[in-house]
Amino acid sequence: MEAQRSTGGTATVLPRWILGFGAFAILFFMASQVTAFTISPAERDMGNLQKILYVHVPAAWISMVSYFLVFVASIGYLWRGRERLDLFAASAAEAGVVLTGLTLALGSIWGRSTWGTWWEWDPRLTSTAVLFLVFVGYLSLRGFIEDDVRRARWSAAIGILGFLNVIIVYYSVQWWRGIHQTQSSPETLSPMYTLGLRMNAFAFLFLMILFVSVRYHTAVLERGAEAREEEEALAGAAHV
């Protein structure tokens, strides 16, 4: 374990709760995967293919939670102007992009095995692809803008507008007719399948919290190093 080093309130070691929580999240994820895989019996129509839903549906749900965090942190940044809220929003956006990409890929595998096609321009699929691209754009934009304040303001604006697409994704199966089924929830499932779905939903949530926490602490460190470089450059310019 590296020594605790702190400069200006920025520690280079992760808080202890993240390490403990991370170990718990990984073990819980493994237990959830084994549980979903072993206890759920073959479904009458889908057979064993229903096991794909224990990873596809939680990935979709938790990506939406990630974007909700982006939305809240972005509003917080525009309201309070705290840089750390911008860094938190960006960290949540990155986790959201990973989960949405996974959702699309798993949905494609599901579609091929049940609908006979890898992709269909269905409202749910298309709106999810748009959501994915919007937040890939959000992350790309952050790499293009050098000025911190402008980067944070533009990111917050896209984070808030991008979240509106989550609402479209969620209701797309109700607003428009398509090939994708309507929302799954424990109430619409047989009790035999709810345990695996619930456990995996929490497992994905815990992993997302872990990813966002680690990414956020890394972003704070990166920002600290950048700020010091800027200060040194200014000090160097003042000496000339």
């Binding site: 590296e2 080093r5 400069t7 920025t10 280079t12 994820f29 995967q33 895989f37 057979g47 064993n48 293919l49 096991k51 794909i52 990873v55 596809h56 990935a59 990973v98 990409g101 996974l102 890929a105 798993l106 595998i109 599901w110 091929r112 095995s113 992993l207 990813f211 680690v214 990414r215 602490h217 890394t218 460190l221 990166e222 600290g224 190093a225 010091r228 470089e229 040194e232």
Partner: protein, 47 residues
């Protein structure tokens, strides 16, 4: 393809995604720590 190949592909992809992203986060964090600690060490050197 049999149904088990699709199921295997889905679970493999899930694990591969999380492991790959975890490795990316760990490497990025290691680089950030190096960059963060480089400043004070540079300043500690005698001029």
């Amino acid at each position: 393809m049999s149904e088990w190949r699709y199921i295997g592909a889905a679970y493999f992809l899930t694990w591969a995604t999380f492991v790959t992203y975890g490795i990316y986060l760990a490497r990025r964090r290691a680089r950030a720590i190096d960059a963060f600690e480089a400043g004070p060490r540079e300043q500690e050197r005698p001029q």
